[in-house]
């Protein structure tokens, strides 16, 4: 009886341990957090001449939405009202070539599939500008959890991290505001859902 009880207890403990282990490595812990770790770009900061950080989250983002009372702001309000945060890090360099492709890779390395999908890559060869837009969606490909924008110009590199459900069709409403660079027509090049480029 005692042996049997011990077996049951051991088996219960093992099951519990297994559940806890599975919980520890469940999908949310495997990078379902749309917040990028921008702090790991400090090496890039040393090459830049100027670094600007913008944090718009929590109460400040709520405040921003409260200001958007004009008719013109209606779509912008629709975009930000459910967001958790907008984080921008912009590096300015003295001259072209002060940062490399490898430096940009430090950001891209966080934007892995399957959590992240690159939906836009736009290259302006004349201006030497590359813009990439990434989306993080729920595992079933449903709701958008966040967005990342990498805008690389010869002397400026901007990383935008939008946390929360973003309506990409209305993203243009935020261009040039809140530290988000102007993306021109690039957002129109997005591919339909389910046909995402993998980084």
């Amino acid at each position: 009886m005692n042996v049997s009880y011990n077996k049951i207890r051991t088996s219960a403990f093992l099951t519990l341990f297994g559940v806890m282990l599975a919980g520890t490595f469940s999908p949310p812990a495997f990078g379902q957090d749309p917040r990028l770790d921008i702090k790991n770009l400090e090496a890039l900061s040393k090459k830049a001449s100027e670094v600007v950080d913008v944090n718009l989250d929590g109460p400040l983002l709520k405040l921003a939405s409260r200001f958007m009372t004009d008719e013109d702001d209606r779509e912008g309000l629709e975009v930000i009202k459910n967001l958790k945060g907008i984080y921008v890090k912009s590096f300015t360099f003295d001259k072209p070539g002060d940062y490399s492709v490898e430096d940009v890779e430090a950001i891209r390395s966080q934007l892995h599939a399957p959590a992240w999908s690159r939906i836009v890559t736009a290259r302006d060869k004349r201006e030497g500008e590359i813009t990439e837009i990434y989306l993080m969606t729920e595992r079933d490909g449903g709701n958008i959890l966040g967005m990342a924008i990498i805008d690389a110009e010869p002397t400026e590199l901007t990383v935008v991290n939008i946390v929360g459900p973003v309506d990409i069709d209305k993203l243009s409403q935020l261009e040039g505001k809140m530290g988000i660079p102007r993306l021109g027509d690039q957002t129109k090049e997005q591919k339909p859902a389910g046909h995402h480029e993998k980084p």
Binding site: E42, S45, K46, A48, S49, E50, V51, V52, D53, V54, N55, L56, D57, G58, P59, L60, L63, A64, R66, F67, V88, S90, K177, M178, G179
Partner: protein, 175 residues
């Protein structure tokens, strides 16, 4: 006439002496005074004198939507006391306290200048902004109240406004 003159002379002298006192010893809200004292303790340096005049004048010429402007300038600071870049953010966060939310941070890498801007809501449709600017020789602390429209300009163009405030802090140091 003689009586009036005898009253005015000490009053003017008192006012003049008052202006010579370090800023935290006089006007300004308690919280700002506390911040100034903390910074003063940090750098082992008192803020510049005559800040009272500057604040008095500045409050009459501030931009639309800005009020309750207060400034304290610490010149010739011992820069070895400034925390290294990687620790500056947390050091300043503990200086300004948890009620302020970090909003914009501008770091001029070449010169080593830092400008950190914090905001918080301040009751009835008013917002408070705190700007801490540190360069190779001086540290500037600025606090002001903003109307929603004034803060909206910041939210719309945070990078431009952050850079502008760095320039403003520089001008304050020079003047």
């Amino acid at each position: 006439m003689r009586n009036r003159s005898s009253f005015l002379t000490p009053a003017i002298l008192s006012l003049a002496l008052l202006q010579m006192l370090p800023f935290p010893a006089r006007a300004g809200d308690q919280e700002f005074r506390t911040l100034v004292e903390r910074m003063s303790a940090y750098y082992q340096k008192r803020p510049m004198r005559f800040m009272g005049w500057l604040n008095f004048v500045a409050n009459r010429f501030t931009l639309q939507g800005v009020s309750h402007f207060q400034i304290a300038i610490f010149d010739d600071i011992d820069t070895s006391r400034t925390p290294p870049s990687e620790d500056l953010e947390s050091s300043l966060a503990s200086l300004v306290g948890p009620s302020y939310q970090p909003f914009v941070r501008v770091h001029d890498v070449r010169s080593g200048d830092w400008t950190c801007i914090y905001t918080r809501e301040s009751g009835k449709a008013r917002f408070e902004m705190l700007i801490v600017s540190i360069d190779s020789t001086d540290a500037v602390l600025m606090k002001m109240q903003l109307t929603p429209d004034a803060l909206r300009e910041w939210v719309d163009e945070p990078m431009k406004k952050g850079r502008d405030s760095r320039e403003e802090a520089r001008h304050a140091e020079v003047n």
